[in-house]
């Protein structure tokens, strides 16, 4: 098990691995998302309060959930990168940041779109909304820091440290709704125990949730590949790879 893990952890073999895996990830992502969104946007019954406006949920919740999970993932990758100085984890940080940033932006956008009909305003200085906005700034900060360095390893390690320290913000975003009396509704779906949402609304949501996780995974894998090529451009496995691609 460990040996297998170690072999996978070396850049070239990981590159090959994701070269094989990522198409399938993409495929299943599109499949699930397609079904989930279709089921959500057409088949699911309109909400008894919100009418059809609620259907944004099928984009909003996955995006929001990802905005948090991806950051957590980045912090974890950071810890690994710092302790074991693992190239793979280092490239993962650089790959996760932009993806996470875009999902956060999406959550904000869909949230605002949803807020207009629900709360009668695009934006309210509400705990969760604001903390999510702050999360976006965190992502942008990491992207900025990463691009400020010339040496990729130094950049990765700096970003790792920042990501870890910045992780204090994640629980605040997640539980803001419970700690402050927020406009934003409390967790009903993404919480342990019995979710309180009717199946015909819930099932599609979970499916599109899974789909978007896979999609994010695909994006991250691809970005990691790029990052690895960039860092290892002087290594011979890269030059071999390129020459192979030149042949046909």
């Amino acid at each position: 098990m460990w040996t297998w893990f170690h072999r996978l952890a070396s850049p070239p073999s990981f590159y090959q691995f994701s070269e094989i895996v990522s198409p399938w990830v993409l495929l299943s992502a599109l499949g699930l998302l397609g079904y989930g969104l279709f089921a959500g946007l057409w088949m699911a019954p309109p909400d008894y309060q919100q009418g059809d406006a609620f259907r944004i949920i099928y984009v909003h919740v996955p995006a929001a959930a990802l905005s948090l999970s991806l950051y957590t993932g980045m912090a974890v990758a950071g810890i690994i990168a710092l302790i074991w100085r693992m190239k793979l984890a280092e490239s993962a940080i650089a790959a996760l940041a932009p993806v996470g940033a875009s999902f956060t932006a999406l959550a904000l956008l869909t949230g605002m779109l949803w807020g207009k009909p629900m709360w009668g305003a695009w934006w309210k200085w509400d705990a969760r909304l604001t903390s999510e906005l702050v999360l976006l700034f965190l992502y942008l900060g990491i992207i900025g820091l990463n691009s400020a360095f010339v040496d990729r390893r130094a950049a990765a390690r700096a970003c790792a440290l920042l990501a870890i320290v910045g992780a204090v913000n994640v629980p605040i975003v997640k539980y803001s709704v419970d700690w402050w009396n927020s406009l934003h509704q409390a967790s009903t779906i993404l919480k342990f125990g019995k979710p309180t949402i009717t199946p015909e609304m819930g099932i599609p949501l979970y499916i599109s949730l899974a789909g978007s996780y896979l999609l994010a995974g695909y994006a991250v894998l691809r970005r990691m590949q790029n990052e690895l090529l960039l860092r290892e451009r002087r290594a011979n496995w890269v030059s071999k790879l390129l020459s192979e691609q030149k042949q046909p």
Partner: protein
């Protein structure tokens, strides 16, 4: 018994490989003169020796950096602190007694300047201040990167004397210099990176 030895050391800057398979050892009474054209990698190698930079491959054995005196390209003088203050705060950093500070300054002819802020010193005066550290406390190994740059003839001869004295009482020296070293030194070995 060696003071310091490098074993098959590779050095890189960023992703550029600089040196490969560098091996040497410095015994008590030895002086190792590292030569090489500009950009050969002397300073980078020295930063590896003092433990500031990790070698790409290979390892460095021997004394800890607490037993070395290192004078790099930069003089580590805070421009707004006076000469004396600079050396004293260096002492406390190195956990050394500050008793010898004024003697050291005296020895390098900086006595009159000891209350001047470092920013108001001439190039060579700053260099002398950096070298004054060698005299504050005896340590077996000196690692000097271009110590002669900016020194006048008197200063160069003085450094030659100091190095000889240090070698005489069983010290070791690793030094990079483009100019020939002053004074007649008994046991010199040269490492040419060119």
């Amino acid at each position: 018994m060696y003071l310091l030895s490098a074993i098959a050391v590779d050095v890189a800057r960023g992703d550029r490989a600089l040196l490969e398979g560098i091996s040497f050892s410095v015994a008590a009474g030895d002086l190792l003169h590292i030569k090489g054209r500009n950009g050969a990698g002397k300073s980078s190698l020295i930063e590896v020796l003092v433990g500031l930079r990790r070698p790409q491959r290979g390892r460095v054995e021997g004394l800890q950096s607490q037993q070395m005196h290192w004078v790099g390209h930069r003089n580590a003088l805070q421009p707004d602190l006076t000469l004396a203050e600079n050396l004293r705060s260096w002492c406390s950093l190195q956990k050394l007694k500050t008793a010898n500070v004024s003697d050291a300054l005296e020895h390098l002819g900086l006595r009159a300047l000891r209350h001047r802020p470092a920013r108001t010193l001439s190039m060579g005066q700053k260099r002398r201040a950096a070298l004054a550290r060698l005299l504050i406390s005896p340590r077996p190994l000196w690692i000097l990167d271009e110590p002669l740059s900016g020194l006048d003839t008197q200063g160069t001869l003085l450094l030659g004397k100091l190095m000889n004295a240090h070698l005489a009482d069983q010290g070791g020296i690793v030094v990079t210099s483009h100019q020939p070293l002053p004074g007649r030194i008994a046991r010199v070995s040269v490492l040419d990176l060119a």
